[in-house]
């Protein structure tokens, strides 16, 4: 038998629609209603400004450690905007903009990073999971959720976010493998922001792309310009439609960049050059989308200024309300809530122990 090339069923594409200057490829431009385009823009702007405000709060000591999202707004909003409210969001820990889109309150974001367990609360009508910090581990939950949707014959999908670092974790590979084998309606959204704390993308894998990892599991993959909200939206819409019609999972690799620190406990100057960051400033997802909207006559500079003011006021109100609420929170006994449906006797005893200690401290 001769050696011969094996014909693989997938090819890998790269998709870019809106370039760095905000010029659109007319052939690829998705047909998005004006109202939705403006909504996407507002969500991206809110994500950016709220992120900036969170960083200030952290630097002022009013909040603890968090992972900023600046620069990744298009990857998040472009993808999440393709879901219905009955679909499920499975986030990692750098998806604040996507979470706000899905109904999470700014108050919860602040509370969580200010160290209040209550920040993790999720309203009963939201099909969102809480943030998952152990890298890549949440990918499996999305596959389990979407298997259950399929079993229940619901036309829902689950969308899971993760970063480039997560593609080195075993769980990511097990999740893609399970999704491929069981053909679950799962959308894997990789925000390749080039850095896993201090380790560059090139140190995570020798593979040319991250999207190609999906191909090994028989799952379609696509690489998109993650700073181009139109490209992310188009790829995600295709993936969601495929999943919803029973054609299984997809992985989307969004090429983006972590403009800020990994978390507020990190100093990127130790491991990456400022010039690299400068290059990505020119590829800012927000500015190019604004250029596109202006060129389309959908928004003016004045309207952007007004929107900025509106968002600023919204954020201020959220911060004020949250800090007011903090005054009522913080009862240490609340730590005993929500471990089990019912508190077992030994934990009732331990709760009592703390209660007595607190009473003594009050006296």
């Amino acid at each position: 038998m001769p050696r011969k090339e094996i014909d693989l069923p997938y090819r890998l594409e790269y998709l870019s629609i809106l370039d760095e200057n905000g010029e659109v490829d007319k052939n690829l431009e998705p047909n998005i209603p004006d109202e939705l385009l403006l909504k996407l823009h507002r969500a991206m702007l809110l994500g950016r400004r709220f992120d900036e405000r969170l960083l200030q709060l952290q630097r002022q000591g009013r909040m603890g450690t968090f992972a900023p999202i600046t620069g990744q707004e298009a990857a998040q909003i472009g993808a999440i905007a393709t879901l219905d409210s009955s679909d499920w969001l499975v986030p990692a820990f750098r998806e604040m903009a996507a979470e706000l889109w899905r109904g999470k309150k700014m108050q919860n974001v602040i509370l969580l990073y200010a160290g209040y367990d209550e920040g993790g609360e999720i309203a009963p009508d939201l099909n969102n999971l809480p943030v998952a910090i152990p890298v890549g581990s949440q990918t499996l939950h999305a596959v389990g959720l979407s298997y259950a949707m399929k079993y229940r014959e619901k036309k829902q999908v689950a969308m899971v976010f993760f970063g480039d670092g997560a593609t080195s974790e075993g769980d990511f590979h097990e999740a893609l493998n399970f999704a491929g084998v069981f053909q679950t309606p799962t959308i894997f959204v990789c925000q390749n922001n080039h850095w896993a704390i201090s380790v560059p993308r090139s140190r995570q894998t020798r593979s040319k792309t991250l999207a190609q990892k999906a191909l090994a599991y028989g799952v379609p993959g696509i690489q998109v310009d993650g700073n181009d909200v139109l490209a992310v939206y188009s790829a995600a819409k295709e993936a969601v439609e495929r999943a919803r019609s029973g054609e299984g999972p997809t992985m989307i690799e969004c090429i983006t960049y972590r403009m800020s620190v990994h978390t507020t406990a990190d100093d990127p100057k130790r491991y990456r050059k400022e010039e690299e960051v400068e290059e990505w400033v020119n590829r800012d997802p927000l500015i190019r989308f604004q250029t596109y909207l202006k060129n389309k006559g959908l928004i003016s500079d004045d309207q952007i200024d007004t929107l900025e003011e509106e968002i600023k006021a919204e954020i201020k109100a959220a911060v004020d309300q949250t800090e007011k609420r903090m005054e009522e929170l913080g009862d240490p006994l609340a730590m005993f809530e929500h471990l089990f449906a019912e508190l077992p006797p030994y934990l009732q005893e331990q709760r009592q122990e703390l209660k007595l200690e607190l009473q003594e401290a009050d006296q």
Binding site: G120, L129, P130, L140, G144, M149, Y151, G170
Partner: protein
Amino acid sequence: MAKMTMVQAINLALHQEMERDDNVVVLGEDVGWDGGVFRVTDGLIEKFGEQRVIDTPLAESGIVGFSIGMALYGLKPVCEIQFSGFSYFAFHQLESHAARLRWRSGGRHHVPMVMRAPYGGGVRALEHHSESREAVYAHTPGLKMVIPSSPRNARALLVSAIRDPDPVVFFEPKAVYRAFREEVPEEEETLPIGRSQIAREGKDVTLIAYGAILHETLEAASTLQKEDGIEAEVIDLLTVSPLDDTLFTESARKTGRVVVVHEAPRSFGAGAEVVSRLVEKSFLYLEAPIRRVTGFDLIIPLFQREKAYLPGVKRIMRAIRETLEF
């Protein structure tokens, strides 16, 4: 009532719970057409189909993480890890997520899943097939750790575990799987999780055990009755965590003498917790130091030396006599 082995009794629980509630799904390696390597899931796939009895890829973390996702949606997955020695691949999914999602989401989500795994020694197996690491799970806040000792209580506890709204790790003593038969009622039976039982009544000394070693403990008790006229009370914990300390506290206060038996390593084991509770709550009732008869703090040896490692009847009897003579 039919006489059943533990394998048959667990199988009955799975059949009946799957019939009763279509949220219950079974998954794991070889659980489908093979019926599981111990045949615990025999006949399920024929009856409930491939969607509910899922032969998964060979990936323990995948199995548990996937189960968590199904449970978050409202299903009740019962996943099998083929041997507890392979459950560490999945430990972080249990620790980081199954045990925490209720808490992390402020009560919005919960994870009603069961992770079943055969555990323990005594079956002449390969490395990684004979360990008892229940303490690892019992030490993890948010998990329940259940270990039955007989066919009837295995069936009843598994039904309760499946209906429990929180994640339950269910270790099945594989040395008991086919060791003996017991009457198991056809009609539904449950046992509360977090409740121990008196396996044998007595007044002279309290023996506390669970899992496979309960049977050696009972044998030691009846031999001592015959040989020395000693009446030992035996408590079967059934749930390692949340630990029920009411029965053994009551018993220890009555007898004043206690021996704790398990096959897991001694240090930081379940026995250490039992002893601590007794010392904290019943110190002045004790007539003698509490003894622990356990596995040594070693990797359980391969099967030529396994018998010497596991606490047998003789070792248990000696500890009881020494406690009584103190």
